[in-house]
Assembly symmetry: C2
Homo-oligomer: 284 residues x 2
Amino acid sequence: MKIGIVGIGLIGASLGWDLRQLGHEVIGVSRQQATCETAERDGICDRASCDLASLQATEIVFICTPIAAIVPTIERLIPHLHSDTILTDAGSVKGAIVDRATALWSNFVGGHPMAGNSESGIAAFEKGLFVDRPFVLTPTALTVPSALNTVDELVRSLGAIVYHTTPERHDLAVAWISHLPVMVSASAISACLNEPDPLILDLAKKFASTGFRDTSRVGAGNPEMGQMMAEYNRDALLRSLYRYRDRLDGIIDAIESKQWSEIKEILATNQAARHEFLDPDAHD
Amino acid sequence: MKIGIVGIGLIGASLGWDLRQLGHEVIGVSRQQATCETAERDGICDRASCDLASLQATEIVFICTPIAAIVPTIERLIPHLHSDTILTDAGSVKGAIVDRATALWSNFVGGHPMAGNSESGIAAFEKGLFVDRPFVLTPTALTVPSALNTVDELVRSLGAIVYHTTPERHDLAVAWISHLPVMVSASAISACLNEPDPLILDLAKKFASTGFRDTSRVGAGNPEMGQMMAEYNRDALLRSLYRYRDRLDGIIDAIESKQWSEIKEILATNQAARHEFLDPDAHD
């Protein structure tokens, strides 16, 4: 197939590489000329330029820009496309994207590759990034079945584990496992940094170990990305945050009233259940 | 020196091995005969038994039992000791231990080796576990200076980075970096498990990735250990939890009122500051 990629960052570049390995022709578009040159030189795209018009003969285009740019990119891209071109995206929220994108382009299929690493940008691209990782597609009643099938088959050929769900369920689920952890973790670092006694803060910094490191990691990640999550998945994130605050209050109550067995019970339940979130077999 | 170790778990066994390598004679005491046999067989102790009386000729004894057993162990050990024997412990809270232990035995020095791995028990022991890790000593006005010096030198010889602070400051600092993360993380898993829609919970389990994995790790650890932290460091933990809840409320308010720049600012501050907690140079 002749495939377009707009936004040649970590996701776009990793898609480009893998799709070319599968024999597809990949045309990239980036706002940065230097990125286009890197993409061509490193075999990520057959051709890359800053010009959306270069995508006019493509059969499918992956929009891999930051969330805020997805719909505006589609608006600017549409004048250049044949009406049977399929559009899909890689945004980590779907409710805010899918309805608007489908209204603009009926051959749109919402997508979310749940793969990545701690880096961003074209330099962070990884071969086989999507292998054995969830790749979520979010059809609605308006999604064209043949477009969904095409995206499904293409994504499956990357080795991804494909899930179909609604944009709403996708957003509620990622609020739990991706966006809530950012806010929970951010609050922990932020609270500690506000420790009023400089001697205590200094000791905390010196004593910090793996427990603090792991719990604080996602709360100190890319600030723009964190803001986007909050902004574009606001309702689902607030729903998780309210439920989270209830559980936190429950734990605080238990400690205040010295209900030690309740603390132990909560931890034991967590210990028994956590593997369900992380067992690779759970992805089958 | 002739050194006793009571409680031959991860910490006690790792101490025993390293101290023997340094040429000391190590006498171990465990409640379990099988543990004693393993300790002798694997070169962790010169001799090990279930009998506290075996420690009567030791110059220093490390109490490496769970927190709840430290003071009771000292009470049972005292009748067997020469008055110049030094006692020290490895408990992860100090306020609840040091005053009571010092009242029982004036040659007591509170200690907390901040080393470990995800396992527990003698089978988890590691050679060189304390190298380049913080080892906190918590003298008070009543601590005998020569006893403190002896423990300090011995611990330093293990390659540990030794800090001296008060039991109170120790407990406030570890509440931030060790005990708060457990409760924050536990609340996140627990809230997610209480998701009322089974379809959302199922997707959350399938989509969970590194962000959820890291943030949920310490909240699904050993339940007894988590309970002990809460029970024995209750006041400092509540202090951190209240401050944490304030920051969480601030983040929820910002999301409710769509103050996106505030979210970004908090995350940017965290991103800039987090390395101070994790840079190995910060331990010098």
